[in-house]
Each structure stands twice: as structure tokens, then as C-alpha cells.
């Protein structure tokens, strides 16, 4: 009688959980911690650098692993990694933990935006504890990166907070400015024409160079309001977006690497 009990206990050595929908997780505030590491290599000078950008990893775990392996193999080419959100499908804690466990294999620091799927269930609370606030900015080598939550259907309150974005751009003395929001500013489902115009005005007024977004799983780029908008693409497409910032005002360019 004891043997079947031992067998069942033995195969139950996974993590105990009272519900897949729990949201208690340590306040690791990963973005802030990773930013400290990024800042260590920030010379503050006008020097060229390149970043790797991923998005919409969802449950494409083996494809994400391939992307991580590639980035690690070429880690000397990149300053850090940006992730455009949708780390999960349903905003569940175990999904976040699984993706985080894979991302921790990166040999470069990484920063993540929040995606619409990450805000489902109790995901908003989990993202806030695990990664930190969804609206924040940082500067690296004369380039300002502004990440903001523009998942309007899944959020309450003022989302996107364009006042925050404008304040950050107004206060920017950087050579280049980059916006990262999970949803494209031209998304036909979520934005009215007025919404699109408001975002376009901000982009144009402050001479933003690039808008990086996820959500649409197909990678691609186009001109947008005097700059460039790029859809990063999902991990399932097995591509990595590279964005390069040239010194001396040489401009910003991007390229997709196929794995």
C-alpha cells in the first residue's frame, strides 16, 4: 500500500500551487535591476551601439530558446536586449515564471514592456511585481528609450499615458529617442482616427526616431511620421530584430536576422 503512495508523492515534486491564478510573486522589479547592469556599460558618450529586440514570446518556448542561444553567441555585438511584451498567453504566474527562467539564460541584460496578454487574469499585478512599472524610461549612450503601456482594452485608467510620453520627450536631450509600446500606433482595432493623430503628433513634434511594437506577430517596418515604426514580430517567426544607433548623428537603422 505504501509503494503507490510513494510513487504519487515522487511524481508530485513540482511546485505546489493553490491555484493557477495566484499572483503572489517576489517584488523582483527586474527591469530596474537589469537597468543597473545596462548602465554599467553606458559611457554617456556619443558612440555607436546595437541592441537585440524580441517580442511576443507567449508559449513559443523552444523558439525563444533559439533566439536566446543566438543572442548569447553574438553577445559582444549587442549592448542589451529589449522585449516588446506578451511574455504569456493568459497572464498566469507560471507562464511568467517559465519565460523569466528562460530569459535569465541571456548573457546580456534585458528590459521588457508589457503586452496585452500579460494583463489578462491577474497578470497586471504579476508584471508590476516581477518587472516593475509599465511606464518608464532610461537613457543609454545618448539615446532615450521610453517604454509605455498602450494596451488600452486590458487596462484601466489613462492608457496610453501620452502625457508621460510627452514629458519624457520634452525632457530628453538625447541624440535619439525611441518609443516602445506593445501595440502599434496604427492598430486598426484599438485606435480611433483621433487616437492615431494624437500619437502621430507626439511622434512628429518631438522628432522621435523609432517606434518599436509587438502584438502583430509578423515582423516588418515602415516609415511613420518622419521616423520609422517597426513590428518586432513573435518568437514563432524565428527572427531577431537588431536596431543600430550610429554615432555622430549618423542615424538609426534596423535589420531582421533570420535564425
Amino acid at each position: 500500500m505504501i509503494r503507490p503512495l510513494v510513487l504519487l508523492l515522487a511524481i508530485s515534486c513540482g511546485k505546489f500551487t493553490v491555484s493557477p491564478y495566484v499572483s503572489n510573486t517576489p517584488n523582483s522589479k527586474l527591469n530596474k535591476n537589469q537597468l543597473s547592469t545596462i548602465k554599467e556599460s553606458d559611457t554617456g558618450a556619443d558612440s555607436s551601439f546595437k541592441i537585440a529586440v524580441l517580442s511576443d514570446t507567449h508559449n513559443y518556448y523552444k523558439e525563444l530558446e533559439e533566439q536566446i542561444d543566438y543572442i548569447n553567441k553574438h553577445k559582444n555585438e549587442y549592448a542589451f536586449v529589449l522585449i516588446g511584451g506578451d511574455l504569456t498567453n493568459l497572464g498566469l504566474l507560471r507562464e511568467f515564471e517559465t519565460t523569466k527562467k528562460l530569459l535569465q539564460r541571456l548573457k546580456l541584460p534585458y528590459i521588457s514592456a508589457v503586452g496585452n496578454h500579460d494583463l489578462l487574469s491577474n497578470g497586471g499585478r504579476i508584471f508590476d511585481q516581477m518587472f516593475g512599472p509599465s511606464d518608464f524610461s532610461f537613457t543609454y549612450n545618448q539615446t532615450k528609450f521610453i517604454l509605455f503601456n498602450n494596451n488600452n482594452w486590458e487596462s484601466t485608467g489613462k492608457v496610453p499615458d501620452l502625457e508621460f510620453v510627452e514629458e519624457e520627450l520634452l525632457g530628453s536631450s538625447s541624440q535619439y529617442n525611441v518609443l516602445i509600446g506593445h501595440v502599434s500606433p496604427l492598430d486598426k482595432d484599438r485606435w480611433t482616427e483621433r487616437d492615431k493623430q494624437e500619437m502621430g503628433t507626439v511622434f512628429r513634434t518631438y522628432n522621435v526616431n523609432y517606434f518599436l511594437n509587438g502584438h502583430d506577430h509578423n515582423p516588418g517596418g515602415e516609415s511613420y511620421e518622419g521616423g520609422t515604426r517597426v513590428t518586432i514580430g513573435a518568437s514563432s517567426k524565428r527572427k531577431i530584430l537588431e536596431v543600430e544607433f550610429a554615432s555622430g548623428g549618423g542615424g538609426v537603422s534596423h535589420n531582421f536576422i533570420s535564425l
Binding site: 511524481i11 508530485s12 505546489f16 493557477p20 495566484v22 530558446e65 497572464g91 489578462l120 487574469s121 497586471g124
Partner: protein
């Protein structure tokens, strides 16, 4: 079945309504005691989630699938020291549909053993 997780334990208050069905496949007996082994399926719905995907009014049709309903497959053992008495105990070990599918699609990356959950319970038979 009805389940409740306090906010202190779960981060948010979680209320679960579940339907379970067990399929007994073996019984061990010893004196007056017994141990039944069984397999089962549990379908449960969680209410009160923020931005619950089942609130379809917030989104266009079919934008999200219903994210508040999960299925769980499990193995269990239920026993008692007195087969004729009312007190029984059980424990179950299972994995939900999400991680069954994820481990099938990502067999080299996901170890399903990391996603097994355990339930312990008491049954009063009357």
C-alpha cells in the same frame, strides 16, 4: 465543488467552481482499510479575475478565448483505515491543460514534472 483562496495567500481573492469525475482503476485492501487508485478530470472556472478574458463585451468577438476555465488531469489515491467508516483521506497529483499542451509543443524546453500540482483532502461519507 467550490474553492476559495484568500487574498493573503493568492495575491488576489480567487473563487473557483469545479466539476470533477474520478475513474477508479485499482483497490488495495488490508484488514479493514483500503486504498483506491484513480484517474480523474477536473474542469474549473475561476471568477473575479481582473481583465477576465471571458468578459467578451470588452473585446471584439473571438479576440480572446475564455481564459478563466481550465481542465486538470490527475491521478489520485483515496483511502481509509476503516472501509465501513465515514472518514476518508485523499491526495491527487495532476497537471492542467495549459502545461500539457505547452510541454507537448515544447518537449525539449518544458519539463512537465515542473508543473505538477498536488491536492490533499478529507472526505466525510454519509
Amino acid at each position: 465543488m467550490h474553492g476559495f483562496v484568500r487574498e493573503e495567500r493568492g495575491g488576489t481573492e480567487i473563487i473557483t467552481i469545479a466539476l470533477k469525475n474520478n475513474f477508479d482503476f485499482y483497490r488495495f485492501e488490508y484488514n479493514k482499510s483500503f486504498l483506491d487508485l484513480y484517474a480523474g478530470v477536473n474542469v474549473f472556472h475561476v471568477t473575479g479575475l481582473r481583465y477576465q478574458a471571458s468578459r467578451r463585451n470588452n473585446y471584439p468577438d473571438s479576440y480572446y478565448s475564455i481564459g478563466s476555465i481550465r481542465g486538470l488531469l490527475y491521478l489520485g489515491a483515496r483511502g481509509s483505515v476503516d472501509a465501513k467508516g465515514p472518514h476518508q483521506g485523499y491526495f491527487e497529483s495532476g497537471v492542467n491543460d495549459l502545461w500539457i499542451i505547452n510541454s507537448l509543443n515544447n518537449s525539449e524546453t518544458i519539463n512537465i514534472n515542473d508543473y505538477i500540482s498536488l491536492a490533499l483532502g478529507y472526505v466525510y461519507v454519509f
